[in-house]
């Protein structure tokens, strides 16, 4: 009986949290629909999320591409299919690894930073102060971050794709003795627009999720420094889990037919 009660309580807690997130999202979308918009804030967030994430995303992308080529080689050479390396690298990067890796890196970098910043503003009454200065905190704080995340992550993923493919190219030509021209030829031949577009659509969804989790956990944080710390952790953990969950859902929607 006690066990059932515990399970039930956890489940109810989960439903309540999900409900709060949905309400928060609806409020944010409603705020997005009506002016005023804050171009300065949007620009600042775009630079923060897009430009300053480039090094992290670029580094992870190049190693991912390199590892991908190497692993494919060691696996595929067992049945003499090494020539498929360019296809495997470019399809894995654009459809799957580009969006997921960039999404996870941005969840760590941006999701955490957003939760910490908004959380601190919450516990020091700065969000209340915004309201008393006739400024809607959803419009001033949440909307610019959601917009920037949704718009900038696809751009980051585009860059990550190029760098990742380049990483695979480096390993294949220098270490595995591929002919550079053939490699590039095969990469281009097998890539379809749909692969890239679907990857970028995933990226937009992931960008929204990461910034939403950061904003939600920051906005609802309470209880001083400890509360802000917890909000940061929740933002990263829930953002990462939701990315992987939605990755599956979107892959199912785009590619399984």
């Amino acid at each position: 009986m006690n066990f059932l009660a515990a399970v039930g309580a956890a489940f109810l807690g989960f439903l309540a949290a999900a409900g709060r997130i949905v309400l928060f999202t609806l409020a944010a979308l409603a705020a997005m629909a009506r002016p005023p918009w804050y171009p300065r804030q949007i620009l600042r967030q775009m630079i923060d999320i897009g430009y300053y994430s480039l090094p992290v995303v670029g580094l992870t992308a190049i190693f991912t591409g390199m590892v991908l080529a190497l692993q494919t080689y060691t696996g595929f050479s067992r049945f003499a299919a090494e020539s498929a390396i360019p296809n495997v690298v470019v399809l894995s990067m654009t459809r799957e690894l580009g969006p997921v890796i960039a999404g996870l890196m941005v969840a760590g970098r941006i999701g955490a930073a957003i939760a910490a910043e908004i959380g601190t503003m919450r516990v020091t009454d700065q969000i209340d102060a915004l309201t008393t200065l006739s400024t809607n905190p959803y419009k001033y704080l949440v909307v610019p971050r959601l917009l920037s995340g949704t718009l900038m992550l696809p751009l980051l993923v585009l860059v990550a794709n190029v760098i990742g493919v380049f990483g695979g190219f480096l390993v294949s030509t220098y270490k595995l003795d591929f002919n550079p021209a053939t490699y590039i030829q095969r990469t281009a031949d097998f890539l379809e627009t749909m692969d890239v577009v679907a990857g970028l659509a995933k990226a937009a969804v992931f960008g929204f999720i990461v910034t939403l989790m950061g904003c939600f956990h920051g906005y609802t944080s309470r209880g001083g420094a400890q509360g802000v710390g917890a909000a940061t952790t929740y933002a990263v953990v829930s953002g990462s889990i939701l990315i992987l969950l939605f990755d599956y859902i979107l892959t199912e929607a785009f590619f399984s037919r």
Partner: protein, 255 residues
Amino acid sequence: MSKIEIRGLKKSFGRKVVLDGLDLDVAERESLVVIGGSGTGKSVMLKCILGLLEPDAGSIKIDGREVVGLSSREREKLMQKFGMLFQGGALFDSIRIWENVAFGLIQGRGMDRKAAKEIALSKLRAVGLGPEVAELRPSELSGGMQKRVALARAIAAEPEIIFFDEPTTGLDPIMSDVINDLIVKCVREVGATAVSITHDMASARKIADRIAMLHRGRIIWQGPAAEIDSSGNPYVEQFVHGHAEGPIQMEVRTR
């Protein structure tokens, strides 16, 4: 008609009852000071009036209009009437001092940045801060300076109703007096309605037309500032004279 009319205001956090049927009226162009022990709910009362906390029960009227349960768009418009100095300052730490002071003018009212900066600088001067401070960030100022910036921000848009939550706490005696004068000026010259919270009786005597005492979630005494010493109320007397012994039992637990 009173500017602010509160009836039966209740607010609890979990099982802890903070406001328990509070009634209070503030007349137009009046300066009311609310006193009361630490943790009795003075800040919570101001936040309920501003709609930052949702009351559990009761009615709050501003200019005769009910404001409990307003939509967020109406609330935004209503906020144009208000200025609030938060107890902790609540300055925006990612922007410069003058942008903090001008925030309500630029974001809230759409004034252009240059004109708003002029006003911000003059408000900073009024609280004893020079233009060299204007370009700094809040974290570069001392606690007392931050408080004064927060005060400048609260009065920058010349609101009709201003709430000051402990305006002089953490200031030296001279600066406290400058701030007291400034509050008096806001009420007498600009014609604002002010509600201030303070523990500093000298400040209360100087800025108050009327004083109200909050205890156990209700207003237990109110009257003209001049009568504070002859209130005949043992709670008020204990508070004004700062005696540890008396009807107010401080909840000090020894473990």
